[in-house]
Amino acid sequence: MDAQSTIRVVIAKPGLDGHDRGAKVIARALRDAGMEVIYTGLRQTPEQIVTAALQEDADVIGLSILSGAHMHICPRVMDLLREKGLSDVLVVVGGIIPDADIPALNAMGIRGVFLPGTPMQSIVEFIRSHVSPRVETI
């Protein structure tokens, strides 16, 4: 029997913003790195994102936020994850995020915050080193 480990990632675009270049590029990069990626599409509410993470049995949620609404969206996502017993899901955020907001995002449990210009490889490595991948028996 083969044992195979696959990291499952939900990439989500919360809020009203439609700039999805980053979300789509990172979704492909993670997929090319061997992860299983579910892209939710645009304008997902925190509820929809957490439901997707639950249904997809995600190890990681990646939020792409460029609109400045991160300090409203992120706490809601983190609260919902706790309510659903998904506190072990690794949450990372990428986008236009002022440095000053990073400590607050970290404090609410968001482990990785990635600004414009972050190499894809460093996001891949961050995820690999912060997730303990499930071992699936096929």
Partner: protein, 560 residues
């Protein structure tokens, strides 16, 4: 073989002997850094361009003279010697009061036009008190929900004395109607108003994704504005066909050029199909391009755009007015090229990109501020961005000569190559039945996503160098102060909205909204009932909901 000397100092028998006797020994001593050189779009560039590279490209029917068909060298005979480009800085944040203050500051600092950035709830047709607007009011632009907000936004600014560009698409008709009513109340006749609404829904489906209704009814709103303005607001640019967002989403220069102009063709076709004579509305179509980092490719892109459009309008649509042939464009430096790392580097990037736009003959220009990879710009950063344009205009001498790169072997070759690539895309899209069907099949979206990923791969492998990111990385750079948006903007906007709802006449609002629905389901122009609703202080959300009732909302199938 052509035996004319090609270069000063080259042996008399031309390129071949130069290659043998001069180049090859030089390469043997000092090999080139890379096997191939490419533009930022991945287009290979030769080592050297010669008269042969540009053979035939300086003929009159290809190059033309400035101000003459096919306008490769510009639409004005005297370039910027008469009138420099308009320095139009895109701005908007928080409440209408906040943004009004920024506008007065920009005008006082020498800005020559206004450009309104609306927040996401406004762009998506949601009022500030809607649940989906939570946390987004005033963040990416100014919040405008009703005529009451628009009155504040332009308070103390004479709409007869300035030109205003408004970046608004799905709710373009509603916001435009508000501007018209504010002008009316200032006593400025509509025939004296000049400015632009973006009103380019096709690129929303392709790139920026701020759509509300499905593509076909959305096109109906656009043509309604064409018709209305042809009769009532003749100096207004009814659309700004935008490549900017297409490029920001990852398109190459050629794709930006091709998809933008093909969108332009689609709008003209819809206008003609709606029964409008082409020369009645085509002169009011304007364009908006990105000014990206690859200097010569960008200049060539603008030149190719003018030539393509002139020929399309004359030969494909039979337009006879030179004003229909002339492509006028606004440019904005590439937001996507800015880095959070070492933010002061962004000042330099922006200056060089702006120079490309000027050498390419832009009619108006926005320069990005150095802090835009981090937040909306501070007043100080926005002023520096404007100063960059003023230095270009007044100190560098580049505004003194028309199309100074015309006749450059390289620039002429690049112009022709970009044009050919765009024409090939036109053919493919024509075979799909036009841009609307192409968008419905996800064609441009897929092409752009591929290019975006290819670019990112180049950055990853290091074959594409970005200073501060994968080259000269240093220490992460300087910390800079950034603008924070007052979180109370949402509450203040919701409160004003509540006051508006209390004092207006509900029957007048309901009646106007019913007439919007009626026009949308029938064939009447939607602009008159929208104007009526605006005068009754109906909100953007209510007017957009009236159209949602009739047309529904569009949900895209994401392509990754």
């Amino acid at each position: 073989m052509d035996t004319r000397p090609l270069l000063p100092g080259a042996p008399g028998d031309g390129l071949e002997s130069w290659t043998r006797e001069v180049l090859e020994p030089a390469l043997a001593r000092a090999p080139e850094r890379r096997a191939a050189f490419t533009t930022v779009s991945g287009r290979p560039v030769e080592r050297l361009y010669t008269a042969e590279s540009a053979a035939g490209l300086t003929h009159d029917d290809v190059l033309g003279a400035p101000g003459g068909f096919p306008y490769t060298r510009g639409i004005h005979a005297s370039g910027y010697r008469g009138k420099p480009w308009t320095m139009r800085q895109f701005a908007g944040f928080g409440t209408p009061e906040d943004t009004n203050a920024r506008y007065r500051q920009l005008l006082a600092a020498g800005g020559t036009g206004l450009s309104v950035a609306f927040d996401l709830p406004t762009l998506m047709g949601r009022d500030p008190d809607h649940p989906l607007a939570r946390g987004e009011v005033g963040k990416c632009g100014v919040s405008v929900a009703s005529l009451a907000d628009m009155e504040v936004l332009f308070e103390g600014i004479d709409l007869g004395a300035i030109t205003t560009s408004m970046t608004i698409n799905s709710p373009a008709s509603m916001i435009f109607a508000m501007y018209l009513v504010v002008a009316e109340r200032q006593g400025v006749p509509w025939t004296a108003l000049a400015g632009t609404i973006q009103n380019d829904i096709l690129k929303e489906f392709i790139a920026q994704k701020e759509f509300i209704y499905p593509p076909r009814p959305s096109m109906r709103l656009v043509t309604d504005v064409f018709r209305f303005c042809a009769d009532e607001v003749p100096r207004w640019n009814t659309i700004s066909v935008s490549g900017y967002h297409i490029r920001e989403a990852g398109a190459t220069a050629a794709q930006e050029l091709a998809f933008t102009l093909r969108n332009g063709i689609e709008y003209v076709q819809y206008g003609v199909d709606a029964g409008l004579p082409v020369d009645a509305f085509a002169p009011r179509i304007s364009f908006f391009f990105n000014a990206h980092s690859d200097f010569f490719e960008e200049i060539a892109k603008y030149r190719a755009a003018r030539r393509l459009w002139a020929r399309v309008m004359r030969d494909r649509f039979g337009a006879t007015s030179p004003r229909s042939w002339q492509l006028r464009f606004h440019a904005q430096t590439a937001g996507v090229s800015l880095t959070a790392q070492q933010p002061y580097n962004n000042v330099v990037r922006t200056a060089l990109q702006a120079l490309a736009a000027v050498l390419g003959g832009a009619q108006s220009l926005h320069t990005n501020a150095l802090d835009e990879a981090l937040a909306l710009p501070t007043a100080e950063a926005a002023t520096l961005a404007l100063r960059t344009q003023q230095i270009l205009a007044h100190e560098t001498g580049v505004a003194g000569v028309v199309d100074p790169l015309g006749g450059s072997y390289f620039v002429e070759r690049l112009t022709a190559d970009l044009e050919a690539e765009a024409l090939a895309y036109f053919d493919r899209i024509d075979r799909m039945g036009g841009m609307v069907p192409a968008i419905e099949q996800g064609f441009p979206q897929r092409e752009i996503a591929e290019s975006a990923y290819a670019f990112q791969r180049e950055v990853e492998t290091g074959s594409r160098r970005i200073v501060g990111v994968n080259e000269a990385v240093g220490d992460g750079g300087s910390r800079i102060g950034i603008l924070s948006i007052d979180e109370a903007a949402g509450a203040r906007q919701a409160a004003r909205l509540e006051a508006v709802r209390r004092r207006r006449d509900p029957a007048a609002v309901e009646g106007a909204l019913a007439r919007i629905r009626e026009a949308a389901s029938g064939g009447a122009n939607t602009m008159p009932p929208i104007l009526e609703a605006v005068r009754a202080y109906a909100t953007v959300g209510e007017m957009c909901d009236a159209l949602r009732d009739v047309w529904g909302e569009f949900v895209e199938v994401p392509i990754i």
